[in-house]
Symmetry: C2
Subunit: 169 residues, 2 copies
């Protein structure tokens, strides 16, 4: 028995983005209860030259969107990074979930052998087949930003646990 590229991407992204949504909801409630300025969390960083929480969440959504779209052979929609609040981040996660749920699972067949070009036309251009693109690049990148978002909020004192991170499975 083997896995489809769809099974190894869209449901994984959906589960973890659901967890991220719950984590962010707890963070927003925590900020309200403790009279913490939301930006104290949204703009928090683990180190000064790392991205703040808000950007980590945007990038996690971007990887879910772009990896799923490329595996499906669909165009990657370009979305502005205009979010400034917890509510706007929730909307971005919902938009991402809707987008990946709307991709045709059948279109992922054949993706494993399809060539995908990273950073085309740049000195860092890289060509990977669909399988390597998902397993060696897309999943690690996605998990990096979801986990870093969680780590930032945990470090900031929000009462969340790994069960929240994991989402529903």
């Amino acid at each position: 028995m083997t896995l489809s590229l769809h099974a190894a991407s869209v449901p994984v992204f959906a589960q973890l983005l659901g967890g991220l949504s719950d984590v962010l909801a707890k963070a927003a409630a925590h900020a309200t209860e403790r009279k913490i300025e939301p930006d104290a969390l949204l703009q928090s960083r683990l180190f000064p030259d790392m991205f703040p929480l808000l950007r980590q969440v945007q990038i996690a959504c971007d990887f879910a969107k772009s990896v799923s779209a490329r595996l499906a052979g669909a165009e990657v929609p370009a979305w502005e990074d205009s979010e400034k609040t917890f509510d706007e981040l929730q909307a971005r996660i919902r938009r991402t979930l809707d987008f990946i749920a709307g991709l045709d699972a059948g279109a992922f067949e054949g993706a494993a052998g399809r060539e995908i070009v990273l950073r085309p036309g740049t000195p860092k251009e890289r060509r990977l087949d669909g399988q390597a693109y998902l397993l060696a690049y897309g999943l690690p990148q996605f998990f990096f930003h979801v986990t870093t978002s969680y780590a930032l909020l945990r470090h900031g004192g929000v009462e969340i646990g790994k069960r929240d991170f994991m989402g529903k499975y």
Copy 2:
């Protein structure tokens, strides 16, 4: 085209554990250069009730080992958590890499439908088939601890980047 359970587990764990090894090597060198007590990094936590770096690395190795073994239908070896230094963590990563490399890829066939029991005999017992065990549980857990290890060191001022985290692909 589809993925084997082996392709979606062992090479992913190996790539990221290779990255983790590089990250820890940079951390150890950083501590030596700056005359930082290694335990200041090894025992560092992002929040007081989270596990310190040393334990995060042990757990990352444990998920790579146990998820791979269970998918292969092999016994999960029990290893003591006796590491106290960067060198000992490197040895644990090597031992993990050797163990998963030694599993028979053919033994992963049929794993997707095999039932795997989490926390057997406890109130949190959970039964998953091999596919869900890897995609919904094993990979997220593994990535959580690898990324948290990186985040801890980044937060501690070690000069590492996402390229180190990603490993070789």
